[in-house]
Symmetry: C2
Subunit: 134 residues, 2 copies
DNA sequence: CTTGATCCTGTAGCGGCTACGGGTTGTAGC
DNA sequence: GCTACAACCCGTAGCCGCTACAGGATCAAG
């Protein structure tokens, strides 16, 4: 166990990720299986920490596991794949845009229903009516 | 079987919901168990269709199953619960707002990385660098 | 050497469906 | 009335991305 080795707990903490998630990532092949101590405990090197941070950051930005797999492959040194990465990011931006628009639309409906609620004089609940419509 | 009865397939179609989803809703108690034909097929009345549309609409607006359960209870005739419904809607709007802001933030990061990409002169991929940072 | 924190594996659960497989019923046409 | 085939039945398993156990082994500090 070298001086820079990390236990799974420290690794997880250092990347801001749940410990069980690290094992999950290993199981699905997103993190490489690390060396083990004699007793069978996982022993990570600093490059594992970097990889895990990369994954966490990608997740935060909304990339799915498969996309991250591709991003990792494309980020290997020696691979000239900036264009592909940019295309993936652009696709992802498009889907984020779509999601934002969806949410804005439904927010508008909800706001309208709530606003109707605050006006007096109605017999029934405008929010319930909105849900019942269509 | 009355003239207005519906099979599960017609019910599902009429509400724009997958047939299996209807059975799922019954299993989790979101839809009431309907009458059955002699042969055991489900037989729905028009009020089931209305309920199912209510659920679908609520899902479209992003309410979770538990929230819908409460909304259904509050929408029972005789319940004066417009304020509670409005509060639920407002809470939901707040969470939608938060989600929109999250997505807008990450969109900004992605756009910046892609924009950096389009400028020449960089040695490494700015998107990959962004993912590796932090 | 003891204690207690950390680690191990395996499995099951979450939400909200969706998709089988293998069997039974309903219904339209002849 | 009979046949064909669509539509239904139930139960179970899978999807994503984790998270949370249980029941045990190991590690490190005192």
């Amino acid at each position: 166990m070298s001086a820079r080795s990390l236990t799974i707990g420290r690794l997880a903490d250092s990347a801001g990720v749940n410990l069980e998630t690290v094992r999950y990532y290993e199981r699905i092949g997103l993190m490489p299986a690390p060396a083990r101590t004699e007793g069978g405990h996982r022993s990570y090197e600093p490059e594992h920490a970097q990889r895990l941070r990369f994954i966490r950051r990608s997740r935060e930005l909304g990339f799915g596991i498969d996309a991250i797999r591709r991003l990792i492959a494309l980020s290997e040194p020696g691979v000239q794949a900036c264009c592909e990465v940019r295309d993936m990011a652009q696709d992802h931006i498009a889907s984020v845009d779509a999601k934002i628009e969806d949410l804005q639309r439904l927010r508008k409906v909800l706001r309208q229903a709530v606003a109707d609620c605050s006006e007096g004089g109605r017999v029934r609940c405008p929010v319930i009516d909105e849900l019942g419509s269509s």
